[in-house]
Amino acid sequence: MKPQSRAALLFLTPGMALIALFFILPVIAGFFLSLTDFDLYSIGDAANTRFVGAKNYASLLDNPLFWRALTNTLYFSFVGGPLTIAVALAAALLLNAKLARFKALFRTIYFAPVVTTIVGVAIVWKYVYHPRVGLLNRMLDAIGIQGPDWLGDPRWAMPALILLAVWRGFGYATVIFLAGLQNVPEELYEAAKIDGAGEWKQFWHVTLPQLGPTFVFVGIITAIGFLQVFAEPYVMTPDGGPLNATLTIVMLMYREGFRWWNMGYAAAVAFILFAMVLLATLANTLIRRTR
């Protein structure tokens, strides 16, 4: 072994050991847990645990609540994710525009929801969504539309949460897009202008391709965040909302694991979520590569 490699190994060991101890080991333990029926009876007496193989997974696929949670999570992610990215990109473009004033102020305003605690956010948004006295329905009223009971109606509960999640999450992506935009070389725009490209063509042929790597990063971070959604539905519509309209995969996992203490079953939910996140990440990377 070369001395450099030995030195590198030495420096890497503490980090690797920590990752192995606090990440890889629990993941392996979690996987074994998902193959057992560990529950309340097991806490009382470990002998009350059975190895059940893939039974947890099989009964999950057989559970209508799981499919409900999966549909809700995908709905939330496929609508909320792209929407967050679109809003974030628009905000970043505005902040990056040469004519923009008070950039620092707006940057702070857009980023503020990201660092605000969700519990405080939930209290304010519950007022916003209140069917009679809420800000949103008051505004709709003013233009002659009768707003729905946002959090109480099974059709509107999820859109309401998506709106909240986009508001809460787009600031983070905005900051990253902004950094990406500032890295686009000015010469490219100048060259495009000389070639006679308008604003739109510059955006399409210069800005977007240059932002490619940023898109992959933002896409992955957003997809992971949205697939793992928990805090928003948990604080806004506890117990899964009207007719389980806002029950998500992580909420199902929490309910099974910490409310009913079916730990083995909850671990199986966690692994299915893990597979979903892995797929979404791979898909994001693949799309980028094929471009």
């Binding site: 529950d39 309340l40 009876y41 806490i43 009382g44 007496d45 009679r132 009971d149 109480g152 519509t237």
Partner: protein, 441 residues
């Protein structure tokens, strides 16, 4: 003199830890100085919010960090016994005959006492005195009252009764009133059974006939204001809402509401049964100061401390001798009558999951996706699957009967039920953690 002084405080250095839940955890601090003065034992109180309490207690047990003594919802008792978190208590700690039977039973798992009731609650009928001069005493009177109110006021701004569809106590109470067994001693579900279906159908009928709105409690904007304004005439809830109504309604509105025990199915004794709820005090197994913890529990159970606790919190005392202060209170006195007619849910760790499934199927039936019979069959399937593990554990090592006490409780006056054990237990948590409507701004 010196000698005497040192005798008065023999255990000067003992400090026990106590977890109280919600408001009770806050108020109990005021009672502690007297206890410390009498015994020399100091109590370190930690307040846990109700919404997080259940998870926190179970995780604390797994992590070995439960306090010496704690308050628990009495519906959690069988869970805590199953996981081995709490120790048996001597029945001589307090005089049993001074407690309400249904409530006491929730603390007895497999014939062994594990908790001392601290305060009690149950659900009964809140009604508008201007619309209903005499509260109904039987199911047929109840239906007739709702039919009359509906006929007199067909508007959709008014409903004779409100039963939020995501709350389980209403369908479960009605089924238990009809004598439903829910789960038997062999951990088998008994929903597809005329007794359950009759009670469940009575519940569903109130929605089908338009007497109750099919809404969940998150859709009722301000239940107190609506009740005060007479937008509905009846409501099944617990003692905590007596206080809520008294602080929220105008002086004028205060004159037009009251409480009454629940109506009973025709041909059964009045009042109809309700489920027993409230909180109990328990001692954790890992505690090294169990004797001191028991002394604290005995202290909190004294009638004069119970009365004082009632004054501080408005929680109904578990001891009947502490009820003297309440007898003059018309609305609360009705709870005293109802508490003499309470039954316990099956004392199973899965009980809460099971009753939530009942509410879920109630909601689906109200929305027309099931007939009551189909809902009962679906419940049998679902609950039997939930209890598969328990049956396996039972087969390996006989576990005490879920119908606590070892004694089999039967409901009086129902000949058909004579053969079967009736599960009696009350769950205070029922009204609290899960089903208590959130405080609204």
């Amino acid at each position: 003199m010196l000698f005497l002084a040192s005798c008065a405080r023999p255990q000067q250095s003992t400090t026990i830890e106590f977890w109280g839940l919600g408001r009770e955890g806050e108020v109990v601090a005021e009672l502690i100085p007297q206890f410390t003065k009498e015994t020399g034992i100091r109590v370190d109180v930690q307040q846990i919010p109700w919404t997080a309490a259940h998870e926190k207690i179970l995780t604390a047990h797994v992590g070995g960090s439960l306090p010496d003594a704690l308050q628990v919802g009495n519906s959690w008792m069988s869970e805590l016994v199953t996981i081995g978190a709490i120790v048996p208590l001597e029945p001589t700690l307090v005089p049993r005959e001074d407690y309400f039977g249904g409530i006491w039973d929730t603390n007895v798992i497999g014939g062994t006492l594990y908790g001392i009731p601290w305060y009690v609650d149950t659900r009964l009928l809140f009604y508008r005195t201007d619309m209903i001069p005499n509260p109904p005493r039987t199911w047929s009177e109840w239906m007739a009252v709702m039919e009359k109110l509906r006929r007199e006021n067909p508007s959709r701004d008014f409903y004779p009764i409100v039963m939020p569809t995501n709350e389980w106590p209403q369908p479960v109470i009605l089924a238990l009133q009809r004598g439903a067994v829910l789960v038997d001693d062999d951990a088998r579900a008994h929903f597809d059974d005329p007794r359950f279906i009759e009670g469940f159908s009575f519940y569903v009928d109130m929605f089908r006939r338009g007497y109750a709105p099919a809404v969940s409690n998150t859709q009722v904007a301000n239940i107190y204001q609506q009740f005060g304004e007479g937008q509905f005439a009846m409501w099944i809830t617990g003692p905590w809402d007596v206080g809520n109504l008294r602080t929220r309604l105008t002086a004028e509105q205060q004159k037009s509401w009251s409480t009454a025990p629940l109506p009973a199915p025709d041909g059964t004794p009045y009042p109809g049964v309700a489920i027993a709820g409230g909180s109990s005090l328990v001692v954790s197994k890992r505690s090294e100061k169990q004797e001191a913890a028991k002394k604290f529990i005995a202290f909190l159970s004294r009638p004069e401390i119970q009365s004082r606790f009632y004054e501080l919190t408005g929680d109904l005392p578990a001891r009947k001798s502490a009820w003297r202060a309440i007898e003059g209170d018309r609305e609360l006195a009705a709870f005293g009558r109802q508490l003499d007619r309470t039954v316990a849910l099956p004392r199973l760790p899965e009980a809460e999951n099971i009753v939530n499934a009942v509410a879920e199927h109630g909601q689906l039936t109200v929305r027309g996706q099931y007939t009551p019979r189909q809902a009962a069959q679906a419940l049998d399937k679902k609950v039997d699957a939930m209890l598969e593990k328990r049956r396996w554990v039972l087969a390996r090592s006989p576990v005490p009967s879920p119908h606590a006490g070892g004694e089999r409780v039967r409901v009086r006056g129902d000949a058909r039920r004579e053969e079967r054990p009736l599960t009696l237990a009350l769950s205070p948590h029922a009204g609290r953690g899960d089903c208590r409507p959130e405080a609204r701004p």
